[in-house]
């Protein structure tokens, strides 16, 4: 073979192989970015989407231009149904769940800045896990599709291959970005598996030296006006942006399971949680300068049915409302959205500095009543702690 033929054949071969890989990935579309071909049984289940969501989610926001967006970490990604009728204004708004598994506050904050800068955004759900301002240097290309990785990478090829081979109809993610996490996990078959899974994911909530559950100490809830300092600078900036662009921004702490609250009461106490909520409400009011702005604060803390599913509920994993103490399923998220957007089910409360004290007292009362009616709480909590060797 002459060097010329060899060179030309090599170039043609490389280009052909590369083009084939690109075409294959474009058709199978394992990351749900292109959306040209969507056929049940062929590529509608996307098994490799969760591991690659950071590659596509922000780019999708720019591509499909959603008007109603959910931000946050996996709690939001698993729990908030983007297609909720109230959230989408009866289907009039294009929704997307931009929750990212494992996202810490700086990442969520940078994504929030990105979302608030997009044209056409009308509603944003932002559960808070921090309030500070963060550097976004580590997230330089939000919104830009990385075609090389989407089409011409081994990762994409592997994902396409997996997609073709795992079309068993078990949903893992929705087209609108919601993740089912372990809800349909075949390995979690019975009550024992469910309990162990719950315990493992709750591991970090068990402190080393628990004390008896404490009632709220009102003296430890700080109700002073938060200073305009670094501690709240991030949330202030987001609130200001939302007001400026008239985007309905719903802020909230993440809803938690009652077992989580009970663990908190045996460890660092529940006051820090209320302090954070007070701060959020006060910051929003400070930034709104007394006017009724588009930013609202919600809380879903409480000892209500939606947060109080038993670990030993005798229900299969797929029928449960909670996968663990932090990952709630979309039924709980829908209840929260009912409260926010449809004035429906009395699950949560809209919070401001005026109704704050009443809310605190109500939750304490609710807790006493709930614990009196539900003696399973303490045994189940200690069982979970024992399962992870927390020494309780």
């Amino acid at each position: 073979m002459s060097p010329k033929r060899y060179t030309l054949a090599l170039l043609v071969l490389l280009l052909l192989l590369l083009a084939s890989a690109g075409a294959f990935n474009r058709i199978v579309d394992p990351f749900w970015y292109f959306r040209d071909v969507e056929i049940r049984g062929f590529n509608l289940d996307k098994p490799r989407f969760p591991r690659n969501e950071r590659l596509v989610k922000s780019a999708l926001v720019r591509k499909i231009r959603p008007q109603a967006i959910i931000l946050g970490n996996s709690f939001a990604e698993v729990g908030f149904p983007a297609t909720h009728a109230g959230f989408t204004d009866a289907g009039k708004l294009v929704p997307y769940n931009l929750g990212l598994s494992g996202a810490k506050w700086p990442e969520v904050y940078c994504y929030a800045l990105f979302v608030l800068a997009q044209p056409g955004v009308q509603r944003v759900i932002l559960p808070l896990s921090g309030m500070t301002e963060a550097s976004c240097v580590g997230f330089p290309n939000l919104g830009d599709p990385d075609y090389a990785r989407l089409l011409f990478s081994r990762n994409a090829l592997g994902a396409s291959w997996d997609t073709l081979h795992k079309q068993d109809g078990v949903p893992l993610v929705t087209r609108e970005g919601m993740w089912y996490m372990q809800r349909y996990e075949a390995k979690i078959r019975n009550d024992t598996d469910i309990t162990l899974n719950f315990a493992n994911l709750m591991r970090d909530s068990f402190c080393r030296s628990p004390h008896p559950a404490r009632a709220l100490d009102p003296q430890r809830v700080d109700r002073s006006a938060p200073a305009a300092d670094a501690a709240t600078a991030g949330v202030r900036k987001l609130v200001r942006l939302a007001i400026e662009k008239n985007i309905r921004l719903s802020l909230m702490p993440y809803p938690k399971h009652v077992l989580h609250y009970e663990a908190e009461r045996r460890c660092e106490g529940i006051e820090a949680r209320w302090n954070e909520l007070w701060k959020i409400a006060a910051v929003v009011e400070q930034e709104a300068r007394g006017k009724a702005g588009p930013v609202e604060v919600w809380d879903f803390h409480g000892y209500r049915d939606a947060n109080a599913e038993r670990v030993h509920a005798g229900k299969a994993m797929r029928e449960r409302w909670w996968q663990d103490n932090g990952h709630f399923n979309h039924e709980v998220g829908a209840a929260a959205f009912d409260s926010i957007f449809s004035a429906g089910r009395a699950y949560g409360h809209r919070v401001d500095t005026r109704n704050f004290d009443g809310l605190v007292e109500a939750v304490e009362r609710e807790r006493s009543d709930f614990l009196a009616r539900n003696p399973w709480v303490e045994p189940e909590l200690y069982e979970l702690a024992r399962l992870v060797g927390a020494g309780w």
């Binding site: 002459s2 060097p3 060899y6 090599l10 170039l11 490389l14 590369l18 081994r154």
Partner: protein, 518 residues
Amino acid sequence: MLFNSFPFIFLFLPAALLGFFLVGRRAHRLAAAWLAASSIFFYGWWNPAYVILLLASIGCNFAFGAKLARLHAAGREPRAGRLLALAVAANLLLLGYYKYTNFFLANLGKLAAAPLAAEIVLPLGISFFTFTQIAFLVDARRGEAKEYNFIHYCLFVTYFPHLIAGPILHHGEMMPQFRDRAVYRLQWENIAVGLSIFLIGLYKKTVLADGVAEYVAPAFNAAAAGAAPTLLDAWGAALAYTFQIYFDFSGYSDMAIGLSRMFGILLPLNFDSPYKAASIIDFWRRWHITLSRFLRDYLYFPLGGNRKGAARRHLNLFLTMLIGGFWHGAGWTFVCWGALHGVYLALNHGWRSACQTLNFEPERLPGWRVFARLLTFTAVVVAWVFFRATDFNAALVMLKGMAGLNGFVLPERWLRYWGAFGRWLIEHGVRFAEMSLFGGGGQVNWLWILLLVCWAFPNTQQIMAAHRPGLVSPGYAPVTPGRWTWKPNLAWLAITAGLGIYALLAITGFSEFIYFQF
């Protein structure tokens, strides 16, 4: 712009090649200018502001060089000496400002107990283009640099295949090639050979180096954060880095050599299977060859080399390696790495002298070569720990781990597969636990496969030996063909295309070459 990026491979390179050969048909000087301009564009892609610095450096050094040559020709040696000192000092000052200011400030700050730092961005490739030009100045002063064509000089310094991370070129081996008319004619053999070398290099970088890289950071970062990696964690990370840096840098060098070959220009070979070395002396004749020869010719020899007795020779070797270490990076860990290699070299020379005196030939002992190779490899791995660690303490923590002083733990997962053997180990005091700093079976597989590649496979130039892949530096062993020799045939077409597509599909985002930071 990175060699391992789609814009470089599919836009810049074809445009540069096409322009070069189209213009080269009509005017050679213009083609050289095109290539120099392309190279400057390539450099400016990273930070256009530093193009001015690069051009200023080239302009000044060319002027200094021309003047030095004139002074030498006129026999005005004392003046030439003073001018050379001034020119070298100017180059070192520039390098010192950009590369070492923060190092000195940080150390000064430690002494004064007040943190000091300046905001200086290190221009890409400054160490390489400074060294290249210092060599040119010294040669001009000696009357060894013959040609003073500014376009060719500009191309010699900026030539994009070597600009960022070498190989460090010698004026005398490049200028004659730029003068050669044949270079400006498209020759398909050059394209075929160059493209194949480039794809092998790309595979080494994107598949091998980037593949094993994920096992490096966890243990080194943990050591820097105060954790104590166990024996397996520490060795796993140190070995992973040993392979990462080799495949990264030799991959880069292959890509540079391959790219240059497409333009018909041969670059000096930079690696010759260094981990096959059976002594440290041998290692430094195989690792970063162009830096070794630079240090030898422009530092070790001027210091006196081996002409002033054994003790002085060892001191000179030590100083050369110490400075070589400091050239790599402004940090005590690099100094330590250089010093360690200086000590290794001195010991190696001492051992050789002792063997000669005692008329002892260890090579004749059975298994000696394997032992020597293992010992050399281990010494090199230990030194890489200093090279990679973020600070001196982290390096010591890693070395403690490698010595087993932080304990020995096996991954819990392995217990499942080992059954009775695992239980036997537990009974004998071996601990199994969850290991977050060690990648388990996946990492073990990477390490033994890469070791096999380093020890049992021919290197790129051996594979390409029949087609003169690059220049062999004077005094270095000629390229010996390996078991497999590349030929433009169907089998090699399939192999090269396979490696190439695998490498191209492994380009994921931004993966800089390790040596870019130097």
